[in-house]
């Protein structure tokens, strides 16, 4: 038999045949590991949990369409008058449409919104990167980001197809007097150049705006400047030729063809519209928003050709419950819109999240220490109880090293068992806490099991150090004294 086999035989015999004592040590390690593992699970899950909790810290009133097929900006404007301006913390409009990402054959719910307001009504949103600030920028929900593998600065090409049945639009009619137009065409490097224009009373171009964000700023970017765009003012569509920016012929011609293929942006159009969006942020909320794309209202209007329609407005209003009831009633008086109260917790500090994590961390450290003290005490008692045996082993020729190895072996074995138990019970514990405190279940982190095992083995090994030191000091002569 090898030495290692004998070592294992001795260690397991010690644990199995001296059950009651070892059960106490195992219990303390197991309970420690359970709490530890549970707290770690919660620690990791807290942001998710709290995200869900904090959603109620944001909006407390939502505006919805009432009677009308959809909410409109003007109706919202009207409804907002019911709230004293100084009590409105934020009001975030949302317009939801499905947009396709043709290259991936996927389609996503896309929200057009006002990001300055989003930060006021949804402070729990956590964004990796930043919120969109410019046109053609998109905030991607984490779920989507993982699904299609986009990262910050990736470019997504999104296509909006209006619902079928909208009447075909006559191009000539589109270019009628007073129309707002939008169009896009490929410029240099297949990047899309977007153009919007407004026609005057005689159907001539009154103003032109070019968005050449996909083009080289110093070259194609010049097409955004007035020096270039002014040449179109006063012309009727279609325009025959363009006075190109030198060195940016492709971009210049893209502007021309965008204008010549432009469609009304101020009325429903059945034309599919495609634009490239740069990913500037990845959104984590712990909620369904992770499955959405977010673009600016302006982009949404350009994509859908509709700047008026909204689906919902989330408002954060700082007022008492009675006041809020009054506001809601006032809104109810108005046509086409109604307000609804959303329950929320009074304190709206995202800082609570950090504090909670710090607390969990602290408790984890304390539990770790307590476990160590408990295991250490138990092992100390074990060493005292086994003085005779240790003396005997030494008298038989055990070196200090083998005494150390045997006790450490027992300690680590206990740590292993305790860790496995703790890992499993810990998940149950975390689940219990989560369901009772946060009202939602948590996902099992498989990585936590090995972490719990390694941690509790380390803790019990550490706890054994002092008892082992005492064991090594035991004098073999005590066996002859016959105490």
């Amino acid at each position: 038999m090898s030495k290692r086999a004998m070592f294992l035989r001795m260690v397991t015999a010690s644990l199995l045949r001296r059950r009651s004592r070892m059960l106490i040590a195992l219990l303390s390690i197991g309970i420690g590991a359970t709490i530890l593992c549970g707290l770690l699970t919660i620690y990791y899950d807290v942001p998710r949990q709290m995200g869900a909790q904090f959603r109620s810290y944001g909006a407390n009133v939502i505006l919805l369409a009432d009677g009308a097929p959809s909410l409109t900006h003007s109706a919202v404007q009207e409804a907002m008058r019911a709230f004293p301006e100084e009590k409105i913390v934020g009001a975030t409009p949302y317009r939801y449409v499905r947009m396709d990402m043709v290259s991936r054959q996927q389609s996503f719910t896309t929200a057009g919104t006002d990001f300055t307001q989003v930060q006021k009504t949804s402070p729990y949103f956590s964004v990796e990167g930043s919120y969109p600030e410019n046109l053609r920028e998109v905030l991607v929900g984490k779920e989507i980001a993982e699904l299609i593998g986009v990262r910050l600065n990736s470019v997504m090409e999104l296509t909006y197809k209006p619902a079928e049945g909208a009447g075909t639009q006559d191009q000539a009619n589109a270019w009628g007097p007073g129309a707002s137009l939008a169009g896009s065409a490929e410029g240099w490097g297949s990047g899309l150049v977007n153009v919007s224009a407004v026609l005057d009373g005689e159907g001539r171009i009154a103003s032109v705006t070019v968005d050449a964000a996909t083009q080289t700023p110093e070259i194609g970017g010049q097409c955004e400047e007035e020096a270039f765009t002014s040449q179109f003012i006063g012309q009727s569509l279609p325009i025959a030729d363009v006075d190109a920016v030198s060195g940016a012929t492709l971009t210049s011609h893209a502007v021309l063809s965008a204008l010549n293929t432009s469609v009304r942006s101020d009325a429903a159009s059945n034309q599919a519209k495609t634009s490239s969006f740069r990913v500037v942020g990845i959104l984590t909320t712990g909620g369904e928003e992770e499955g959405y794309l977010f673009i600016s209202e302006a982009d949404m209007a350009a994509m859908t050709g509709d700047a008026e329609t909204l689906d919902v407005v989330e408002m954060s209003v700082s007022a008492s419950a009675e006041e809020l009831d009054g506001f809601v009633d006032a809104v109810g008086q108005q046509e086409g819109v109604r307000a609804r109260l959303v329950k929320r917790v009074t304190r709206s500090e995202a800082a609570v999240l950090t504090k909670l994590q710090a607390l969990v961390f602290l408790v984890t450290v304390v539990v770790l220490l307590l476990t160590m003290i408990c295991v250490s005490t138990t092992m100390m008692a074990v060493v005292t109880e086994r003085r005779q045996e240790i003396g005997l082993r030494k008298a038989l020729g055990a070196s200090d090293g083998s005494i150390r190895a045997e006790f450490l072996g027992e300690g680590m074995f206990l740590g292993l068992l305790g860790g496995v138990l703790g890992g499993l019970f810990g998940f149950g514990f975390a689940q219990l806490v989560s369901v009772n405190v946060f009202g939602s279940s948590i996902t099992f982190q498989p990585l936590l099991l090995p972490i719990a095992v390694i941690l509790s083995m380390a803790v019990s090994a550490l706890s054994c150090l002092w008892p082992i030191k005492r064991a090594v000091q035991i004098d073999p002569a005590i066996v002859l004294k016959g105490e």
Partner: protein, 224 residues
Amino acid sequence: MSLLEIKNVSKIYGDLKALDNVNITVEKGDWVAIMGPSGSGKSTMMNIIGCMDKPTSGEVLLDGVDISKQSNKYLTEVRRDKIGLIFQQFHMVNYLTAVENIMVSQYYHSLPDEEEALEALGRVGLRERARHLPSQLSGGEQQRVCVARALINHPEIILADEPTGNLDEANENIVLDLFAQLHREGTTLIVVTHDPEVADVAQRTIVLEHGRVAREVHNASWGK
């Protein structure tokens, strides 16, 4: 060269001289009994010979090496390689079976060998009890296991402190027969005892009194 030479050894606890200028020589293959009243220093001497304690002064030459000057690590090696110990209180690891207790000794010495351990148990007539825990064995049986454990690594010296002190007549005879066998095989035996019958089977008896060697008696009936 003698196997063991104790020269002018004293062991002093405070102002108590547990051993006072002791001189003893033991040759290889000797069977020596040590007698003396309680507190006369017998166990103290066994501890020193067994490398579990060091004398306050004097030399203890084991195979010519003065073990009173060696490091603890060296003493551990000597205990492991040259000495087999038998105690009055048996001392077994209480959660290991009889055969496992013997294998512990092998484990520290070299490699555990269950077959050999079982053979040693057979020698003390306990092969059938190999899988029993100490609590399931009688005192006499436990002491026989300890004898088997002491001889498993073929030590040069077997030190026994009151090996029969807790045994009845029958078990005492079994143990003494085993000692006689070991002696015939050339093992050196040093046995501390209060019992004249145990001393009688040894070649000679050293009597300690107040930490000194009072007299040394050669057994007249030895070999008869």
